[in-house]
Amino acid sequence: MIRATVKKCTLETVILKATLLAMAFLAFPASARAEALVADLSSHLIAITTGFQGSELLLFGATDGEGDVVVLVRGPEESLKVRRKDRIGGIWVNRDEVTFEKVPVFFRMASNRPVGDFVPYTLLSRHQLGLRFLELPVAEPTVLQADIVSFRAALLRGKSREGFYAPGEGKVTFLGERLFRTNVVFPPNVPTGTYKIEVFLIRDGRVVGAQTTPLIVSKVGLGAEVFLFAHRHAALYGILSVILATLAGWLGAVAFRKV
């Protein structure tokens, strides 16, 4: 119910903002030429609270004319180990591993029509538009090419299974000629950090406008405090855990002594 109201509010603001954007374009055509593309998010913060069930953001914007829009959502980068299991004596055991660097923790792409239809290959690869264009350097210098292929495929598969990557493209819808919008869905287990949302306006196979918007995904509330405390003051956290459990056990013993 709360989510529904929040969404309604954001939708109204979005419509308002979009209208203002459109008016700006119409009123000042000269300044609009300087920026071929303007876009914004319904919110620049996703707060993961204790009862977080996932979130949906609206990205909207306006262009100065014809063209196709591609939206790229990239989470912060991490290095990621991929391990392969092998059967040893009847049970499955982790054997080989490959570490990939600069792996975005989250990846989504959306466009108003399939990118293959209007973006040249060089642009796809330069802007890493799509999972197969992700640049993921391997940390170990001695890994074989054949292994990299299968481990990389496993990485993309695993990330997609967790809901952090989406294999296909999302849908950008145009409202009229100039206004566009798309929804970006974040799963309940969305990783934290600073996300980068890139919007490209592509006309005749060239990028004529681009905009980058940050998005912060962060844990808030008690859960976040506990997590950070446990990692920053690990020893103190351990001692407090001991005291907490001891107190709880003692209270239990006292509570049931009289019964």
Binding site: T50, I91, G158, G223, V226, G238, G249, A253
Partner: protein, 310 residues
């Protein structure tokens, strides 16, 4: 009602956790075991990573043991000298265990080692309990009294550093409780168990302690060993989920009361037979998970370090 566990990093239903704590608590009240060796597998089946399950269980057992030791303390069923000897070994064993845990985690083998340790221990203990309880049931039918020699002299009594334990009326080598403590401490760190299911039989059969002293003394030792494990796991591995431990504790304390009361209506050997079947069932499931071909042979491990990030 879903609750987000900050360290386990998943959302789980609160009532499921309270119920799980209550169920395992009831089992432990019923059978007089700590329940760690059942709780940890159940947490793993829930989807909590084995590393977090093990470390959190140590924290939970700490609370459960504090709750249990009072009753024994009041009846003065704690042999403190023996307890401290066991503890000395236990602290060494558990510290070594947490270090080993960190090393294995670095190699990506900790989950495997935890599962394997469970399969081995649960199968041995389940089988022993099943045999013992079915024998007891058999004896019960024939109305035969169990006969056992009161004191056997083995090589264990030839060990050096002999010490007198007045409370337990024993004169044995100090190496024996220290050694048992070490082994049990190791299990506490690697498996997230109090180790009562190993220590109690060892104290009765190897040390020869009077049965009345055994449970109180082992609880006393478990409290300090699990406290040591909790702090070290939190420090080296950041795998202790205090919220999860607390929820399980609340369920467990209530469950234990129910279990203890229910236990007085049921016959001991039938109960032990039942527990043996539960233990063997859990063991089979764990082995199945190891042996069955996984859906994806690959797994991903993030290398993020949170110590300084915000």
């Amino acid at each position: 009602m879903q609750i987000y566990l900050p360290i386990a990093e998943i959302s789980v239903n609160v009532f499921y956790l309270l119920g799980l704590g209550g169920l395992v608590g009831a089992l432990s009240g019923l059978f007089g075991v700590g329940g760690g060796f059942l709780m940890t597998p159940f947490l793993i089946f829930t989807g909590i990573s084995p590393a977090v399950a093990v470390a959190t269980e140590a924290n939970q057992i700490l609370g459960a043991s504090v709750s249990g030791v009072f009753a024994h303390w009041r009846r003065s069923n704690v042999d403190f000298k023996m307890g401290f000897m066991l503890l000395a070994g236990g602290l060494m064993g558990s510290s070594f265990g947490v270090w080993l845990f960190s090393v294995l985690r670095g190699f990506g083998q900790i989950d495997l080692v935890i599962s394997l340790a469970y399969v081995v221990f649960l199968s041995v203990i389940g089988a022993l309990m099943l045999v013992e309880s079915s024998r007891a049931m058999f004896r019960h039918r024939r109305h035969e009294a169990a006969q056992r020699k009161l004191h056997k002299h083995t090589w264990l009594h030839g060990l050096p550093l002999k010490t007198r334990f007045r409370k337990s009326k024993l004169y044995i080598s100090a190496l024996l409780p220290v050694g048992i403590g070490f082994f049990v401490g190791l299990l506490a760190a690697i498996m997230g168990v109090g180790g009562g299911f190993v220590m109690v039989p060892a104290m009765i059969y190897l040390i020869g302690m009077p049965t009345s002293m055994v449970v109180g003394t082992s609880l006393f030792q478990i409290i300090f060993v699990t406290a040591n494990v909790t702090i070290l796991q939190a420090y080296y591995n950041q795998t202790v989920d205090a919220l999860l431990a607390l929820l399980l504790l609340i369920g467990g304390v209530i469950g234990a009361q129910i279990g203890t009361r229910a236990g007085s209506f049921l016959r001991g050997e039938q109960l032990r037979g039942l527990l043996a079947l539960v233990v063997l069932g859990v063991c089979a499931r764990m082995f199945f998970d190891l042996a069955v071909t996984p859906g994806d042979l690959f797994s991903l491990v993030s290398q993020v370090d949170f110590s300084g990030e915000r």
